[in-house]
């Protein structure tokens, strides 16, 4: 899969008699590529353009500019060929026929994807088994929990054995146990050779699953690489966490001024503040920081490796 300089603008209209039109650039020049069998993560805050990007790739939206190919076919010129080869799963509990049972939901989409009857008879029970809905397939979807709906969604997305699977925030609103099962399901998809594009808000999910990650902000990709590369590229050094009680602003300013300090974030927790000091690679900052704090009461002090979340927050908040 290849995306080259994808752009998409929306026209928003407001007002009834005097309509004012406003152009909003949701995606401004996104490029990336996925190799076959790769699991690629697209991370970004709400409204960053993740879903818009996905919708262009799955042929639901036409790009304003740029081009993309999925499974070797152009998303604008050959939407049908693309559609045959992709599965699309989004998070949340919409997108199912509430009044039908799980099996009929799958049969319906099986027909629309042109899955042969003999294949359907074999594949539907298989998929229900895989997502753990065996035994409940005759119940109407109305009565399903969110986790069950989400799993049914995934089964639907895989009905026609697509080469590429798009998962748009699949774990949204699912409890931790469900989310873990979901991660296992996704890992299995990659194991059988599917190419997967995943968007998510959960850093550990991306960290655990993705081969490569792109961080998208305001419609642009601001960083791309393996999870390890991202952590390195952003922070390089480690993070010093200091619990303090009543550290004055002047002291925090002082720490900011220390050589080897990249940034200092203060996390206020009532009487306690936690200083998060991002260090340059190789800098030894524990002693100088404690010295500056002087007689301010200090609790736990820890030096840790940066997490993907540290990297992500720095990427999407840095000016």
């Amino acid at each position: 899969m290849e995306a080259t300089d994808l752009r998409r603008t929306f026209r928003r209209s407001s007002g009834l008699l005097r309509r004012t039109h406003q152009e909003v650039e949701a995606v401004r020049g996104v490029s990336f590529h996925l190799d076959k069998g790769e699991l690629f993560g697209l991370l970004g805050p709400n409204g960053a353009g993740k879903t818009t990007t996905i919708k262009m790739l799955i042929t639901l939206l036409l790009p304003t500019a740029g081009s993309a190919t999925v499974a070797g076919f152009d998303v604008v010129r050959d939407p049908r060929e693309v559609r045959r080869r992709i599965g699309y799963v989004f998070g949340g509990d919409r997108g199912l026929y509430e009044r039908l049972n799980a099996r009929d939901n799958l049969r319906y989409f099986g027909e629309l994807y042109g899955v042969a009857p003999a294949v359907q008879r074999r594949r539907i029970p298989e998929l229900l088994e895989m997502v753990g809905l065996t035994g409940r397939e005759k119940e109407k979807v109305e009565g399903y929990s969110r986790g069950m709906r989400q799993r049914l969604h995934i089964a639907r997305g895989l009905l026609h054995d697509p080469e590429v699977v798009f998962l748009d925030e699949p774990s949204i609103g699912i409890d931790p146990v469900g989310a873990r099962e979901l991660r296992e399901t996704v890992a299995r998809l990659v194991a059988v050779g599917k190419t997967v594009l995943l968007t998510t808000h959960y850093m550990f999910e991306a960290d655990e699953l993705c081969d490569r990650i792109a961080v998208i902000r305001s419609g642009e990709i601001v960083a791309e690489g393996t999870p390890a590369q991202l952590k390195q590229a952003v922070s390089g050094g480690r993070v010093l966490e200091v619990e303090t009680y009543g550290a004055p602003e002047s002291v925090v300013e002082g720490i900011r001024g220390l050589a080897g300090v990249r940034s200092v974030a203060v996390d206020d927790r009532g009487q306690q503040q936690v200083l998060l000091v991002q260090c340059e690679p190789g800098a030894q900052l524990t002693q100088p920081v404690l010295a500056l704090l002087g007689d301010v009461r200090v609790g736990r002090v820890a030096l840790r490796e940066p997490t993907l979340e540290d990297a992500y927050i720095e990427l999407v908040t840095s000016p």
Binding site: G95, R99, L100, R107, L112, Y113, G114
Partner: protein, 257 residues
């Protein structure tokens, strides 16, 4: 070809299940036109002329089909939009036509149920026994009316891909349809400028054919016109479906609720 027929058949059956599984919706689809039919019958009953009762009885029976198709079909895609399935359906490799036609056929099936329900209602509540001289032709005429109404519903529903308020426009079609198709009002007493509108609806011809069959006249010319107009709508709708899905992709109007 066999694959396509199979897909249409399975989708028809599943959609029929969706429509008929909601008890409230089902009752309403029948109840609403039935009550209007009742009101019309009550008006005609004041004079009690048997010929007029036969006229309104036949029309009232077909009236319900219009509601099932005209009103529900146009809200069909709005429902899919609301349930979040519209995007998924568009994202499948089959064309909109192959998704919508089985659905509107399912609605027509509910419409046929309406015809039977109204017929029984007239018989039991009003003691009105409709005179049908040729039952086979009568059934053919009713079936073809249902079929062409499905293509008309297909045409209405397709516009909803792009315009999310089209359900309210569809609901607004209910009364005009009842007026224009000659169910309970003879077309001759309507203003002349409305006649072309009536002729443009396949149901008008279907209704005329139903009356022919009931009275023993030959319904074939009206049936031919009914089929021709119906096919016309199907062709336009298939083309429109393509254009509007494209336009929805361009304007991002699929997922809006």
């Amino acid at each position: 070809m066999r694959g396509v027929l199979r897909q249409l058949w399975v989708c028809y059956r599943i959609q029929l299940k969706v429509i008929s599984s909601d008890w409230f919706d089902g009752v309403l689809a029948v109840f609403f036109p039935l009550m209007f039919a009742t009101a019309a019958l009550l008006v005609y009953r004041v004079n009690g002329d048997p010929a007029a009762m036969q006229y309104v009885g036949l029309g009232a029976a077909i009236m319900g089909m219009w509601t099932c198709q005209g009103v529900i079909a146009s809200s069909l895609l709005s429902r899919e939009r609301w349930a979040g399935t519209l995007e998924l359906v568009v994202a499948t490799p089959v064309s909109m036509t192959r998704v919508l036609v089985p659905t509107t056929l399912a609605l027509s099936t509910v419409g046929l149920y309406c015809v039977v329900a109204t017929y029984l209602w007239e018989r039991w509540v009003f003691g009105l026994e409709l005179q049908v001289l040729s039952w086979p032709l009568f059934v053919v005429a009713v079936l073809l009316t249902a079929l062409t109404l499905a293509t008309f519903g297909f045409f209405l529903s397709v516009t909803a891909v792009r315009y999310r308020v089209s359900w309210s426009l569809g609901a607004a079609l209910e009364y005009p349809g009842w007026l224009l198709c000659g169910f309970v009002v003879p077309l001759a007493i309507l203003p002349a400028w409305t006649h072309p509108l009536s002729w443009a609806i396949p149901t008008t011809w279907g209704m005329a054919a139903v009356r022919d069959a009931a009275s023993g006249a030959s319904p074939w010319s009206n049936l031919a016109l009914c089929a021709a107009v119906g096919i016309g709508y199907a062709a336009v709708a298939a083309w429109l479906g393509k254009v509007l899905v494209e336009s929805a992709r361009r304007h991002a109007s699929l997922s809006l609720r």
